[in-house]
C-alpha cells in the first residue's frame, strides 16, 4: 500500500489508471490432505503501465495470485478488478496477454502461426494478422525464424515466441508466470532487457511472477514480497534505482513509466543502487536485516 496511491495525478480519472485491483482476497484449495490456505488477505493495486513483480519462496501463492487475476482460478473470497471489470469479463474481453514458465507453443504450427493464434481465434483478418505477426517477430528478433517449427528453436527462442504471442493483441496488461525460469543466465538477462524495452514500448502494465531477486529488481517498479503458508504479502518494496528516480510514483502514466524503464540498461546491474535494492528485497524476504555488501552481490 505505498506507491499506487500517488498515481492519482491531478485531472486524471482514477479508475482507468488502475490496471489490477485485488481487495482482501483469500484462496483456499480443498485437497485430499485437507484445506490449503494458498492466499490470505491479499490487497494489491497495479497502476496502468506499472511493472510489478511477485516474489517469494515456493508455496507463497504468487502463481496462484497471478492465476486469479487471469481468471484461470477463482478466489474463495474477496474481489479482483481488472481495468474495473471482473476477471472473467476482462478475460472474455481479452484485456490481458499471458505467458507461462513453459512456452506452450503448438508444435504443429510454425512460429508465425503460433504468434497468430490469438489473432486467429478472435477473427482478425489474414492480412492484418500477417502484418502484426511480422511486427511482433521483428520486435523479439525472430523475423527470420517465422516459418520454422517450435522444435527447431532453442528454449530461449521459444520463450521469445511465447512473449510475442502474449503481445499479439496489444494488451494493456501482461501476466507472466516465471517466463524466464527455464532459461540459462545469459539468455535470461538478454530476455529481461528485451522485456523491459517491450513493456516500455507498448506501455503495458506487467504482473511478473519470479523467484529471482535480481530479476525482480532489474525489471520492476515495485516488488511484492510474499511469504508462504498462508500466502501473504509481507512487504511491497518500491524500487529506487539510479536513473529511474522512483518508478511511477513521480507523475505516472505509461509514458513516464517508459521513460523510467529506459534507464534499465545492462549498466544498472553493476550499479550501487541495484545492489541496495537487491539487499532491500532480500531483507524483506527473510524478514530481518541480512549481512550487507558482499552477500548482496552473490544473490543470483
Amino acid at each position: 500500500m505505498s506507491a499506487p496511491e500517488t498515481t492519482a495525478a491531478p485531472g486524471t480519472i482514477t479508475e482507468p489508471a488502475i490496471a489490477v485491483r485485488v481487495s482482501s482476497v483469500d484462496k483456499v484449495f480443498e485437497t485430499q490432505g485437507g484445506r490449503v490456505h494458498a492466499l490470505e488477505g491479499i490487497d494489491l493495486s497495479v497502476a496502468a503501465g506499472e511493472f510489478v513483480s511477485l516474489i517469494g519462496p515456493s508455496g507463497c501463492g504468487k502463481s496462484t495470485l497471478m492465476r486469479l487475476i487471469a481468471d484461470l482460478d477463482a478466489p474463495t473470497s474477496g474481489s479482483i478488478a481488472v481495468f474495473g471489470k471482473t476477471p472473467t469479463r476482462a478475460r472474455l474481453d481479452q484485456e490481458y496477454g499471458i505467458a507461462f514458465q513453459q512456452a506452450g507453443l503448438l508444435p504443429w504450427r510454425t512460429v508465425a502461426a503460433n504468434v497468430a493464434l490469438p489473432l486467429e481465434l478472435h477473427g482478425v483478418g489474414q492480412a492484418a494478422r500477417r502484418a502484426k505477426v511480422d511486427e511482433l517477430l521483428d520486435m523479439v528478433g525472430l523475423a527470420e525464424f517465422a516459418e520454422r517449427y517450435p522444435d527447431q528453436l532453442s528454449g530461449g527462442m521459444q520463450q521469445r515466441v511465447a512473449i510475442a504471442r502474449s503481445l499479439a493483441e496489444q494488451p494493456r496488461l501482461l501476466l507472466m508466470d516465471e517466463p524466464f525460469g527455464a532459461l540459462d543466465e545469459m539468455t535470461r538477462e538478454k530476455m529481461q532487457a528485451d522485456l523491459v524495452r517491450i513493456a516500455g514500448e507498448t506501455g503495458a502494465a506487467v504482473v511478473f511472477v519470479t523467484h529471482s531477486i535480481p530479476e525482480a529488481v532489474f525489471l520492476s517498479d515495485r516488488v511484492v514480497v510474499m511469504s508462504p503458508r498462508p500466502g501473504r504479502i509481507r512487504e511491497i518494496v518500491p524500487m529506487r534505482l539510479a536513473g529511474a528516480a522512483a518508478g511511477p510514483a513521480d507523475g505516472v502514466g505509461a509514458v513516464e513509466g517508459a521513460a523510467t524503464r529506459a534507464a534499465r540498461t545492462e549498466g544498472l546491474r553493476e550499479d550501487r543502487s541495484f545492489f541496495e535494492m537487491v539487499t532491500a528485497v532480500r531483507e524483506a524476504l527473510h524478514g530481518a536485516p541480512v549481512a550487507t555488501g558482499a552477500r548482496g552481490v552473490e544473490t543470483r
Binding site: I98, G104, L106, W108, H122, D151
Partner: protein, 285 residues
C-alpha cells in the same frame, strides 16, 4: 559408419535378398529335392496359377477390398466420434469402457456365422460389419488416448484466449490427437482386411478372396489357393501402405527436423506393427 544413402539402399536390398533366397530354397525343395508339388506347390506353379486365374483374382480382391474399405471407413468414423464423446463426457467413457474391453478381447470374426445368418446368405453386410467392428477398437482406443494428450499449459492458454469449445477442438484437441488417430487407422487397416477376408470362410456370398481360398483348398487346387493367398497379402499391404502414406502426408511439415517430442511418436506405433505382423501370419495359414 555407413553413409545414409548406403543405409537406405541396404534397407531395401536386404529384405529383398532374404525373400529371393527363401523363394529359391522353396523352388529347390520342390523341383530338385522332390517334395511333392501336390503338397507344396512351387513358386513357379503359383505364379502360373496367378496368371491363369488373373481375372477372378482381381474380381475377388475388389470384392474383399471393398468390404474391408467400407468397414475401415465406417469403423474409423465411429471410433473417432465415440472417442470424442468419451473424452468430452466422463459418463460416456465409463459406460463404453466395458463394451470396448469386451470388443477388444472377443475375436470379432467369431461373430461371422451369426451375422451371416442374421443378414442373409447373399449379403456382404455381415463382412463389412465385422471389418467395421474390428477397425473400431484400435481407432477408438488410440483416438481417446490422443484426445487426452493436451497439456495443461495449452488448455489454460485456450482459456486465457476465451476460445469457444469448437475453437479448442479445432485448434488444440484435434491437432494434438491427429498422430494418434492416424496410428489407430493404420493398425485398423490391416485388421479390416484380415477380418473381411476371414469372415468369408464362414459362408455368405462367394467371390471374395477368403471364400475362393477355402474353395480352392477344398478342391485340392493348392497352387490356385496359394495364388489367392498372395493376392490377400498384396491387398493387406496395399491397405497398410495407403494408410501409412496418409499418415505421412497429414503429419508432413511437423517439425521436419528431429522428432524428439514424445507426444508425437505414440508408443502404440510399435505395438501396432507387431500386431500387424503376427496377424498377417494368421492369414497365410
Amino acid at each position: 559408419m555407413m553413409s545414409p544413402r548406403t543405409e537406405t539402399t541396404l534397407r531395401i536390398v536386404a529384405p529383398l535378398a532374404v525373400g529371393l533366397i527363401v523363394l529359391g530354397a522353396w523352388q529347390f525343395l520342390v523341383s530338385v529335392v522332390g517334395v511333392s508339388d501336390y503338397l507344396l506347390p512351387s513358386p513357379a506353379s503359383i505364379v502360373d496359377a496367378l496368371i491363369a486365374s488373373w481375372d477372378s483374382i482381381v474380381q475377388a480382391t475388389i470384392i474383399t477390398g471393398t468390404n474391408a474399405l467400407i468397414g475401415l471407413v465406417v469403423g474409423s468414423l465411429l471410433g473417432i466420434a465415440l472417442a470424442a464423446l468419451a473424452a468430452r463426457w466422463r459418463a460416456v467413457d465409463r459406460m463404453s469402457a466395458p463394451v470396448i474391453a469386451a470388443l477388444a478381447v472377443v475375436p470379432i470374426v467369431a461373430l461371422a456365422p451369426v451375422l451371416n445368418s442374421m443378414f442373409g446368405a447373399d449379403s456382404q453386410f455381415g463382412r463389412q460389419a465385422i471389418a467395421a467392428l474390428a477397425s473400431f477398437v484400435p481407432v477408438f482406443l488410440n483416438t481417446l488416448r490422443g484426445f487426452r494428450q493436451t497439456t495443461p499449459v495449452h488448455r489454460e492458454l485456450m482459456r486465457a484466449y476465451a476460445a469457444t469449445p469448437g475453437q479448442v477442438l479445432r485448434s488444440l484437441t484435434l491437432p494434438t490427437a491427429r498422430p494418434f488417430i492416424l496410428t489407430g487407422i493404420r493398425i485398423a487397416s490391416s485388421l479390416a482386411v484380415i477380418s473381411a477376408l476371414v469372415a468369408e470362410y464362414f459362408g455368405g456370398p462367394r467371390g471374395g478372396l477368403g471364400s475362393l481360398i477355402s474353395t480352392s483348398a477344398a478342391s485340392s487346387a493348392y497352387a490356385r489357393a496359394w495364388a489367392y493367398v498372395v493376392a490377400s497379402i498384396a491387398l493387406g499391404l496395399l491397405f497398410y501402405l495407403a494408410t501409412l502414406a496418409l499418415e505421412r502426408l497429414v503429419l508432413r511439415g511437423r517439425g521436419s527436423g528431429d522428432r524428439t517430442s514424445g507426444a508425437r511418436t505414440p508408443g502404440t506405433r510399435t505395438t501396432g506393427t507387431s500386431t500387424v505382423s503376427t496377424t498377417s501370419t494368421t492369414v497365410s495359414h
